[in-house]
């Protein structure tokens, strides 16, 4: 068969359109759940997680009624500590970090002792509870730039960021978690969700490193009243805020931190 010029042009046009379409459809595809791994994870979940998170993963295990804050509801596909933008699913490494470290000030213990294979398996099983994992891809992790010098100037700028973004509305003027908005703060499930007390403890929920704190500002804490500031403050401002917040911590037993060091 011989192709004439109009036919060649049409074919080239179709091919170009296809290429163009492919090039513009950058939406990440959901990652299929590894069912074999999830089956292994079910055993880990049944043994260790059911009492709090429930057999259905809905955060209504038989111990949940006694726990404050309540265990996470996996059916919602909403996760607190992520490296991905607000409202998106976390990547596996985010969930692995949470499992390894646990959550301070909650009853979620660190599970590192179970070993990474078991933790990766249970992560895969947790994904089976929410259809979100079949419909959406995890978000793209934010890039955390190198930390600049933690000096007086940075802390002063951070104090301004704190003020301009009304952090004290929730966290209070001294960061004790006693801001005027506290009585109104609820999580997505309607349970009281008090803001973090930066004075009392160096152990923050989403990790203790400065980078963890930076990441929390920029991605928010999904499911809680803590929003993401990724669109409203610059990376420099976020690091300044980190440096300011670190100054809020008071030694245990000091007049600002009496009997809260436990």
């Amino acid at each position: 068969m011989t192709l004439h010029r109009p036919q060649i042009a049409a074919l080239l046009g179709i091919a170009g359109l296809a290429l163009l379409t492919g090039a513009t459809d950058t939406t990440p595809k959901p990652v299929p759940i590894d069912q074999a791994l999830a089956r292994k994870g079910e055993a880990v979940y049944t043994r260790n997680c059911v009492s709090c998170h429930g057999e259905l993963g809905d955060g209504r295990g038989y111990s949940a009624q006694w726990l404050e804050p309540r265990p996470r509801d996996f059916t919602s596909g909403v996760f607190k500590c992520r490296s991905t933008p607000s409202g998106t699913l976390p990547v596996n490494e985010d969930l692995l970090r949470t499992l390894n470290v646990g959550f301070f000030h909650t009853y979620m213990p660190p599970w590192a002792v179970l070993g990474e294979p078991s933790l990766r398996a249970v992560i895969e099983y947790i994904k089976t509870f929410s259809p979100k994992w079949k419909e959406e891809a995890p978000g793209t992790p934010i890039v955390i730039p190198p930390e600049p010098a933690d000096d007086e100037a940075s802390r002063k700028r951070g104090a301004l960021v704190w003020k301009n973004n009304q952090c004290e509305k929730c966290h209070g003027p001294n960061g004790k978690g006693d801001g005027p908005a506290v009585p109104t703060l609820r999580d997505d499930w309607g349970f009281p969700d008090p803001p973090f007390n930066f004075v009392a403890s160096p152990n923050r929920k989403c990790g203790n490193t400065n980078a963890d704190l930076y990441r929390t500002f920029m991605t928010g804490v999904n499911g809680s009243p803590m929003p993401s500031f990724g669109d409203s403050i610059s990376p420099q401002e976020a690091w300044d805020l980190v440096h300011y917040i670190l100054t809020l911590r008071q030694p245990a037993g000091s007049e600002y931190n009496i009997a809260v060091h436990y």
């Binding site: 055993a43 111990s63 006694w66």
Partner: protein, 457 residues
């Protein structure tokens, strides 16, 4: 409906009643943390890796929810555990009055009793930032009915009472326990599945020895222990007084005994052989063999003992987990060599006046345990202890040698965050060689069947 049909119906109904409804918890800590008991135990009472790490950390999860001031005022760290049910015992070669039909004067006794195996009333937890504790009270068990383990029927006592200080100088490698605590053992005797057969190497003594130290019993002393962050590497050294001694040596630590144990746990990353854990352990003790007498010259005075003589134990262990790190098939093995100084055997002299020699023995156990789910445990254990050298010519070579094996099934019918209930079936046979039996008569053998309900709250 015929009799077979009735039986099937009863079994089906029973099965429906007994089906577990949920995963569960260890009572005292479950109430505190809300976690299932299967978090800390492969199946209770045996600890898994999480439980070992939790205990090593001073009963802390280290998420700022551990100390008493973080708990509701109604929280009280109290729990108890006992086993009720039926026990059958058969014992061969029991001496009786000889008759024409029984000229050897030996018979086999059989007893079947309903009763309970023991009771632990325990409280444990944290006292402060780096301070933790355990107290276990065992009331008098004169009416227990079961004869399950050494010392099970005795006066009420504090089975255990200690205070611990963790992370001294900020490192998990330095922790201290002060008080009556269990030596760190290859397989924890106080958290074993077995109710009718103890791990005998922890209790075995040579014939004629004055040594009473049993690492299977809790010891009053001070323990220094440490571990890596995930408790993969662990060590323990305990200095104690040798228990059960009415007279003590005149030392700053009377009749001292040191117990040491080192373990290393390694996850292989292999789906079949999941983990390996080798370890070594041992004890060295010193006991007085001479005393000053009272003014009448007849009774030794406590606290004047001298001429210290040594005994020691040394052993190795290997633990394997197969198939799964979560619900594993576990093989535990340990061997131990024991030696007591000649001066500790029969007061240093045989009945014919000749001097004794050191007594030496070697023993071990192999224990296979399968936990296909948090609700079921199947177990098999074999043990053997053989005399290598009798200390005294008064005893023939094999006297005291020990053989045993056992099978068990534990099915957990209730595991909640408040209580745990397990149906426990255990069968075991144990034989200990004795002297004075007619030729052709084997060593006396005890057979035990225990059908019980083991529960904790």
């Amino acid at each position: 409906m015929g009799s077979r049909g009735s039986l099937v119906a009863v079994l089906v109904a029973l099965g429906a009643v007994l089906l577990p409804t949920s995963a569960g918890a260890i009572p005292a800590f479950a109430r505190k943390y809300g976690v299932a008991c299967s978090v800390c135990h492969t199946n209770w009472p045996r600890l898994n890796r999480f439980g070992i790490e939790f205990r090593d950390n001073g009963y802390r999860m280290n998420r700022e929810r551990d100390n008493p001031v973080t708990q509701p005022g109604t929280y009280w760290p109290l729990a108890f555990r006992t086993t009720v049910g039926y026990q059958y015992l058969a014992q061969t070669d029991v001496p009786v009055q000889p008759t024409a039909s029984n000229p050897n004067g030996l018979t086999t006794t059989q007893t079947g009793t309903f009763g309970f195996a023991g009771l632990d009333i325990l409280t444990a937890g944290t006292l402060g930032e780096q301070i933790n504790f355990l107290v276990v009270y065992t009331p008098s068990l004169a009416g227990a009915g079961f004869q399950t383990s050494p010392g099970a029927i005795e006066d009420s006592d504090l089975e255990s009472a200690w205070v611990g200080f963790t992370r001294l100088f900020g490192t998990p490698f330095l922790n201290v326990r002060v008080g009556k605590a269990s030596p760190d053992l290859p397989v924890d005797e106080h958290r074993t599945y077995w109710l009718t057969v103890p791990h005998q190497i922890y209790f075995f003594q040579a014939q004629g020895t004055a040594v009473t130290y049993s690492p299977g019993d809790n010891q009053a002393g001070v323990e220094v222990y440490g571990h890596s962050e995930l408790s993969n590497f662990r060590y323990s050294v305990q200095l104690a007084n040798e228990g059960g001694q009415p007279l003590f040596s005149a030392n700053w630590v009377s009749n001292p005994v040191l117990w040491g144990h080192v373990q290393y746990f390694h996850l292989t990353g292999n789906d079949f052989l999941v983990s390996i854990e080798p370890g070594v352990f041992g004890a060295a003790g010193w006991q007085a063999t001479r005393y000053l007498n009272d003014p009448t010259g007849t009774a030794p005075v406590s606290g004047t003992g001298y001429s210290m003589q040594n005994y020691y134990r040394i052993g190795g262990e290997l633990h394997f987990q197969f198939l799964s790190a979560v619900n594993p098939l576990t093989l535990d093995g340990a061997v131990m060599f024991g030696s007591d100084s000649s001066a500790l055997i029969n007061g240093g002299f045989n009945s014919d006046g000749t001097p004794t020699q050191s007594a030496q023995w070697m023993g071990g156990f192999a224990e296979l345990t399968w936990t296909p789910s948090p609700f079921l445990t199947l177990g098999f254990m074999y043990q053997r202890i053989a005399t290598l050298q009798q200390g005294s010519t008064d005893f023939s070579h094999a006297i005291g040698d020990y053989d045993s094996w056992g099978l068990l099934v534990r099915y957990y019918i209730e595991l909640t965050s408040r209580a745990g209930v397990a149906l426990h079936a255990e069968f075991s046979q144990a034989a200990t060689t004795t002297g004075g039996l007619p030729s052709g008569v084997g060593p006396p053998q005890g057979t035990t069947l225990l059908l019980g309900i083991d529960f904790a709250y």
